[in-house]
Amino acid sequence: MTALRFPTPPVHEAAETLRAEVRAFLTDVLADRSPLQRADSWNGFDRDFSRKLGQRGWLGMTWPKQYGGHERSAFERYVVVEETLAAGAPVAAHWIADRQSGPSLLKYGTEEQKQTILPGIAAGETVFCIGMSEPDSGSDLAATRTRAVPVDGGWHVTGTKLWTTGAHHADYMILFCRTSGTAADRQAGTSQLLVDLKATDGITIRPIIDLAGQHHFNEVHFEDAFLPSSALIGTEGAGWEQVMSELAFERSGPERFLSSMQLFIELIGALQGSTSEAAELALGRLTAHLVTLRRLSRGVAAMLEAGENPGTHAAIVKDLGATFEQELGDIARNLVDAEPDTASTSDFIAVLAHNTGNSPSFSLRGGTREILRGIIARGLGLR
């Protein structure tokens, strides 16, 4: 099947009722958030906001009630995610956990892990980070060098994780590492371990400052850090299969084309009163892209709801989404005269500057463009 069809997202009445509630809530709690702050939705870390979402029942929405979830549909969750992102809400304190760590634990975790961890995520209390990348293992995740050596009652972990977003805030990390064999075994012999970052000795977290001067990612060094046997997620040696499933969760959401929404909105604001055809043509084209991306992305939600694996489809949406977002800045610069500056009193100019400094990451984080296209090519049967 070379024609990759995306399922039709169903019309979901309950989700649309929910949308009105979410919008009203966001209008209220985000009233004081400036456009520049809104543009930084991904990195906005605000435990208070996440707790409020949790109190509303808008985290862990699709999970079983016994783990603090709300047993709602993937479409209702989708509404909450897209509305919070489109509004530029600070999502950093909950969304890694809500989007991928929680679903992974639900799928592979032990009963004890599910009972102790998931309710906290659903309440917006528990912050997660992703321990995949390393200095010598980026796209080539199977080259992991971090090693957990079995000892009495658990493991001793040594190694370095890199680019770990939010590790300095996080309560837990899902660590991908080698638990047996050697680097030559590649995918075999890898596992996922749950790391309690607040209660484990031998872990050093060092900030890394991005090119725009922001601190969101970190280097996390493990030196003989002891993890108990109960830290194992899923099956020892099945880490590769599990981490691929986690990445499908990571790539499947609308954040992959909504992280620059604030720039789009400010651009429309900056163009008010314009009768330029160039501006209309550009906005028309971008709107067609956006509406289509939403349709594709809701198709992925339909696949998740049906229990299907949307790996290839999610890669397509993420690749198209990153391309769309990376074009935005240059399109805006061509339509409105501006020298980008985050300190500008013009919202458009400040947001443009923020976007300029972030845009290289869109096609890197969560799997690079080239890796995604490799996944799509595999889906086409070429490799």
């Binding site: 024609a3 990759l4 163009l271 028309g284 509406v291 289509t292 198709g299 296209r373 799509i376 070429l382």
Partner: protein, 323 residues
């Protein structure tokens, strides 16, 4: 018969007819002729009535299934005005006019370049006063599009009186082209995957080279986007949503996908794809033409841009979600 059986049966019939008569249609089209037997068989099958409600003499199948037949014509790059005839009959029925006899020349305005105008037995014209139905109109000027398909100006009688139709003819024609393009793009992807999998250079199939894989992944992304945009417009028609907006989205996004996809497909096919011998050109030349028919790509993009600009910064996102 169950309704969903009727839809499936029509799809099967269409597939059989388009395949059986494919060469004849293609041959006739290339010489500026008309595949009489093929059209007769298509008419006999009832396909032109697919989108007509049951009470007006149609099958009463869901609109999305009827529109899927138009997409199927695109998968064959069908060189006959069946898409036009399908949507024209729906328009005629909604306006309380008699259904078409023979192939329809669909004119979204009086001086339009009417697809297969010289062969049309019925001409359906949109005027300011509403829909008009004419029989056999004389040709004022013959021309062809870049796919070599007839696009003719007809001598349409003056006068603006017409019947009120449910949906503007321009939108219907544009929806048809969106669906045809989505179908054709799916075939372009399939043909390209087949080609790079079988063509060997440097001792291995082209498909094994990463540079080729990356280009095909881009092509697949464009085709997926086109497909979704076409589905979106078809759904808007089926549920009575804002068709003008959905069609504008579809034609803007699919037009871009057509440009990007045809470029990649030709690059990966090499010289053989640049010939009349190879099937690829039937799809790519049709795509190049279709992206600007029933409203140019620029027309639809501008229409959408005006909507975006007038929504303003506060109402833009709600507009996107409601689309």
């Amino acid at each position: 018969m169950e309704l969903n059986d009727v839809g499936a049966m029509l799809a099967d019939t269409a597939e059989r007819l388009f395949t059986t008569h494919g060469d004849a249609i293609e041959g006739a089209g290339r010489d500026g002729g008309w595949a009489d037997a093929a059209w007769a068989a298509i008419e006999e099958s009832g396909l032109p009535l697919a989108l007509v409600p049951e009470e007006h003499g149609g099958f009463g199948i869901p609109a999305t299934e009827a529109l899927a037949l138009i997409r199927q014509t695109g998968r064959h790059a069908l060189a006959l005005p069946l898409p036009e005839t399908i949507v024209a009959n729906a328009a005629l029925a909604s306006a309380g006019l008699p259904l078409a006899e023979g192939p329809v020349g669909l004119a979204e305005r009086a001086n339009a370049r009417v697809p297969w105008g010289r062969f049309a037995n019925t001409v359906v014209v949109a005027t300011d006063g509403g829909l008009q139905r004419h029989a056999d109109l004389p040709v004022a000027a013959e021309s062809t599009n870049v796919a070599g398909h007839p696009r003719d100006q007809l001598s349409i009688p003056e006068g603006n009186a017409g019947a009120a139709a449910a949906v503007p003819l321009l939108e219907l024609g544009a929806l048809a082209r969106a669906l045809q393009m989505a179908g054709a793009l799916e075939r372009v992807l399939e043909l390209t995957v087949e080609h790079v999998s079988s063509r060997v250079q440097f001792g291995r199939p082209l498909a094994k080279f990463q540079a080729i894989q990356q280009e095909l992944a881009k092509l697949a992304g464009e085709v997926a986007a086109a497909s979704a945009a076409a589905d979106h417009a078809a759904d808007a028609y089926a549920v009575g949503g804002d068709l003008t907006f959905a069609v504008a989205v579809a034609r803007t996004r699919i037009g871009e996908a057509a440009s990007k996809s045809t470029a990649i497909a030709h690059q990966l096919h090499g010289a053989i794809g640049f010939t009349r011998e190879h099937a690829l050109h039937r799809f790519t030349t049709a795509l190049w033409a279709w992206r600007d028919e029933f409203g140019t790509q620029r027309h639809w993009t501008l229409a959408l841009g005006k909507r975006a600009l007038s929504a303003g910064r506060d109402c833009y996102w709600p507009m996107v979600v409601a689309a």
